[in-house]
Symmetry: D2
Subunit: 437 residues, 4 copies
């Protein structure tokens, strides 16, 4: 199969301005436009995700494949993997994105043994390396799928069987090696089944210790081979399990402190995972910054009224404007980027649907970024925020925070006070945001 | 008002055996029965809660008072508080519970100044002390209400105004002093409005630092005055705020580590708060034990299909059996107990409803405790659990966990493995639990 | 109290164009601008709601009053009600809205008897009538509060006690009479406690029959007095009760059919109630149109991550654009309008917060309306929709739908078919909406 | 494959009494014990479900097959289907259940054309008929899977393409014919994808008309062929779609009235579907009885803290006691039964897990039934219920309900009333239930 037969298009999608009605043109994503001192492309650092776009066949728990992609049907698994790679790199080029991401099993078939699986992975990532010599696209991160194979049905690092833990170590080493070989900017761990289905058969404390050990070994190895990017943990509260140990950013913060991993492990946050945990995306991002753990983002959206991971393409400009506002306040991404952990709906079966979805979402992100920049420059939100906390800049308040006052001293001073509440101005601020979005 | 005019009953409620149909007799709660080496009363350590039972008038967001308690209507606030205390201690006696709990503002009226409020608190708790000389009831914990007064509408410790922080310190000092004077076994902090309504006006990192400082001061003071019980944080994810910083046990673990408070602060967990955070009660308890933070329990239940804190009386024997099973495995309560943070429904307006609710729930707890004891003695759950993880007791597995193996060593060993999954036996274990409940 | 002392402003808020940064100026709401053949004011038909803006003191389940409005403190209840009316009508004028709405108990104090309550209501609504002679504002709807008083704690029409049903009839008659006297365009029933707290004490079938009878009597009376507007039921799934019988639009449709009320009763839909029932606002609106029951809208928004009614001011332009798109397709409001069943946050304690919230939300609605108009004119959504269902316009398909084919005939024709799926184009359509919002 | 090689057991599972600890013996399910005038087997009418137990391979959205059943791997699809039937009927015999249920595609492979699919179905159901001559098991209901094949990705009856509607008619006719041939007691329709993924591409009113027509044709055909059982609709609010039109019992009631189907169509209710819609199982059952639509039950349980259909085996005795209490009040099942729409967890990979799960759940149901019987006989719940509504048995109250009083007459009578609230006694009733469970 020649990749140019899958997408009916030769030229990369281009910026055409806000008046365009072409679903295959960018209206806001203008990669060279400067935003807060960087090119827009370098601020947003978009990555296309191999899994959802090229490996998922369109199934759900009540129905099978809908996409019928040509590279999913055939008997020569490695040949199909090469065909898939051709289509994938063609899409990277058409979308003109600077990054991609993958799981090991997305790109190469599992073999009859770990050795064979690792060889397959090497064979395909060698092809990637070759393609990357001439293409602009780089690797944002790689990862290992430690949850789909039935051997991992009770977890990988947290499995009750140490042989499964061991097997997972073998697989993750190969995935990190491949990521390193491709100059990946980060390495991601999503603990798909690191959790439990029922507490009746689970020793939580023991499993957390196993997970801590697993990550510590990975961190040591990363240093040894000179992989400079961070290990990123991707919090998710549940699904497929009833409970995942990496529930949300705050939970992972507690875990990383306990196992002394704060210096080497950061967070890869996702909108859909955030809302499944009961948080807004912005909340998770602010929590990560407060903990010093911000790393990268999976950009997608869930459905607020559904209780599972829908991984829809992000289209909500206002939500992203607030996330990017926080990010820009902290200087933007370092190693991270915006990974499209998003899948077209299973009814979107045309090849163009894949392109259209990415284009529409990239534009929504770009609009969010521009709104964030404007709010920041105008101090539209930061101005009122600083004013609200100004009292804490006074000497006595600073002394309290610095630990220079005892409870009794402060309590004594309280006796003379009758503090009056001040308006929180929420509706005013919501109106301000609406001015920019 | 003489307290004996409120409850139409003179004698304490007694154990009558499982055949009894009297809603004012215990069918399972037999205080002197030995359970795992302690009297049942000493295992369960029930506490009646002042707030829900004597201070809440039956209102909800769409309607006002339904209970019309005599001590809620009148002009002499301190006299009413004394009447309320009479009724409360009468109920403690009738229920024959070993403990009670209170917020400062539950028991004494707020004054026109902090000084006056503190004086009122002292006046009433002096009465408590007097009563406690002759009554069996002791104080499980005290706490300060830092959320109802409008001055705290934007938080107490996390308020943008340092004067509010200061005022809260003044109030909490008085509450801890009162708790100490009454030989309270613990002191509780529930961060009712330590959180946010909107991130648009909130500096999360700054507020967390304020909260850390507040608790550190409290811990220092506790040591200074020789208060030996722990400070207990009560996690809750939301309500009244959109987000509370003490979201759940895992979040508090991260917070306590960051501010170096792990040694002095433990957790007071509640069923209804657990499910609002997306967790089972058992999950929170196991998380607390894994983190070394288990302290005490607010025993109640929420409605799984509602999104707010209903604080209903706990009636689910099976749920509690699993919680107590975990607790008994760890030796049971030390300073903690089962506090009835539960309110009768606002339609349960008869005085007897108050007694009946406590009796029915105490019985449900007792049944849960007896089931837990039986499961433990039979190793009905612990047996299969230990068998499931037996592989980790092998030397190589132990060496991995002990940090004596590198990723490369383990990965090398993986090449020879093809681990096969084993049944998780969930339905078998659920059937086992049903045998005991 | 002179009303001009509450709001620090004399002149109505005016349209100032999109460049304005004044939070007390309209940027999009340009009342005389024509939208789909009507003035914008006549399309949106905004109403200010007495309850949230003038009667709610800022309390929540964990804290009391924050607003400290002058008309809420004093001993002469009728005088305070008159003061409140002055402020309310001043706000109607400042916001330049065409409508307002009220519950009986919002505007007049409850008396010691039903007779006295009815007299109080008459006294205040007579004042309203007088004010309305010179002011532009009209009454969108009136309603009776049958849920706050403790007599209604177990429901009004569905109460187990027929005397409570009777009392409710007495109250609702007075409220409809007052609404009729003020030329109200509709009369609303929100079944605040028409539901249950527990099924253990509830006879659901019997209670539904009571509710059907109550509404039938109301409809008969409406016809008798010549009240021409519809009775509107406001669906809500829960809160304050565990379950309300008017759960959502579809449930009410079943109820109205059973009790033969479809011709006279329509729906008043609310965004926050929709999401509490698990539906989008747009879903409820489309369901109502499909059932022929669309009446009016309570415009507000809930928090998707919270499980209770937050009644925040509507700010989500995209959500409203889709609702208005459906509404404009059906010709827009007849008797209904956009009632601000929205409350400023309890921290928004300044008088200006009240104005700012309304202005920001009116602007968001106006933007939504303009986007809806543009989408309709461009057939941006309706074009693809009609194309998708075009097959059903073919003769054989029409014959099936018309009931002219038997199952066997259709099954026979199926044997020759192998229908192929077509793309649902969801991402394309989401991108289209983003072009307009 | 000989079926006796799958289950390592020859004899049916028997009643062994409550002291038994054998997970493969019944402790409460004593089929010949009389309960409310029928044998327990005839009250509970258990059915094993083909789909979950024999056709689902253990996959979830994040992982594939775990069970590796022998009949799922091979090239001769019809031979595998026969092997599967052998195992299935062996399990029916071992569990000694009186009923089973199936979808067309569960039992027979889909062919290359509708004709071939129908022939396959006929071939297998002929085998069923043969087996049923000698086995006790009967067919509770059959159904057609109109959601898994990609042709149905946008719905079956509600598809935008009338050819898909037509194809679905062809399939459903064959399934009803097969059900009729096997003397099925009911025929079930679950509208798996009769709903929408996004309202942007959906014409709700049109699709509801299609669905109404589809069911009307089916009802006409049922009468024509003399199928005497009811058509059962199975409400579910969502999943796989964002919204299913058969959301819950109340929604279906509205739909059936509109399309005049109330006489011929009843409801098949499921616990997990109920809670996904925000209702308790008991609520759905009571709603169905109040609407005259009760038909049959899918007995399983969901996880209250998860937002998707987990279909776990029902183990909650208390929940089922209340459902059966309502059912027994109405005389118990007529054509319906308890279908195990429940799947063992994907980690429960041993053959015995299948048997153990059914046994544990049948026992839990039996306990629930016995508790319901005892409560009914003691009038433990019905007594207080009747007392609570006794006022409505008075002449004036009856006259109101009978439509013999006008609003004005009732309002006039209200003027003399001051009804006082009475306790709802919720905690008392909860304690009562705990006495029986």
């Amino acid at each position: 199969m020649a990749s140019n037969r899958f997408f009916d298009r030769a030229d990369p999608i281009a910026f055409a301005g806000t008046d365009s009605r072409d679903p295959l043109a960018f209206r806001f994503y203008d990669k060279d436009r400067e935003v807060m001192g960087r090119r827009m492309e370098d601020q947003l650092r978009f990555a296309v995700c191999y899994w959802h776009s090229f490996t998922w066949p369109g199934g759900d728990p009540f129905g099978g494949e809908t996409f019928n992609r040509p590279w999913m049907h055939g008997s020569d698994a490695l040949a199909l993997a090469r065909d898939k790679a051709d289509v994938a790199f063609d899409m990277f080029r058409l979308l003109d994105v600077p990054f991609f991401t993958f799981h090991d099993v997305d790109v190469a078939p599992e073999g009859a043994s770990l050795k064979e699986s690792n060889d397959n992975l090497k064979a395909i990532t060698d092809i990637f390396a070759k393609k990357m010599e001439t293409e602009k696209v780089r690797l944002l991160w790689g990862t290992a799928n430690l949850f789909s194979n039935r051997r991992y049905m009770a977890g990988a690092a947290t499995n009750p069987d140490p042989d499964v833990f061991t097997y997972a170590v073998g697989q993750v080493k190969a995935a990190l090696d491949a990521t390193h070989a491709l100059n990946g900017a980060n390495y991601v761990c999503w603990g798909g089944r690191e959790g439990y289905e029922t507490l009746l058969n689970t020793d939580m404390g023991r499993e957390l210790d196993q997970l801590g050990r697993f990550l510590s070994m990975l961190v040591d190895y990363k240093h040894k081979i000179g992989f400079e990017g961070p290990i990123l943990i991707e919090p998710k509260p549940k699904e497929p399990t009833k409970h995942q140990y990496d529930f949300d950013a705050a939970t992972v913060f507690g875990f990383l402190q306990k196992y002394d991993l704060v210096a080497d492990v950061k967070l890869n946050l996702e909108q859909n995972h955030a809302i499944l945990a009961g948080h807004s995306f912005e909340h998770e991002v602010k929590t990560a910054y407060a903990a010093g753990l911000f790393g990268s983002l999976d950009i997608n959206r869930g459905d607020d009224l559904l209780g599972w991971d829908t991984d829809q393409f992000a289209m909500n400009v206002g939500e992203m404007a607030l996330v990017f506002h926080e990010m820009l306040r902290h200087g933007g991404f370092t190693t991270g980027g915006l990974n499209f952990d998003a899948k077209i709906r299973r009814q979107s079966i045309d090849p163009d649907d894949l392109l259209i979805a990415h284009v529409a979402s990239m534009d929504a992100c770009a609009r969010g970024l521009l709104a964030a920049e404007a709010m920041l420059k105008d101090e539209a939100l930061t101005g009122p925020l600083n004013a609200r906390y100004a009292g804490w800049d006074q000497p006595e308040a600073k002394a309290i925070l610095a630990g220079e006052r005892t409870l009794e001293q402060v309590a004594e001073r309280a006796l003379g006070l009758d503090p009056q509440p001040r308006s929180g101005r929420q509706e005013y601020l919501e109106g301000v945001v609406n001015r920019y979005v």
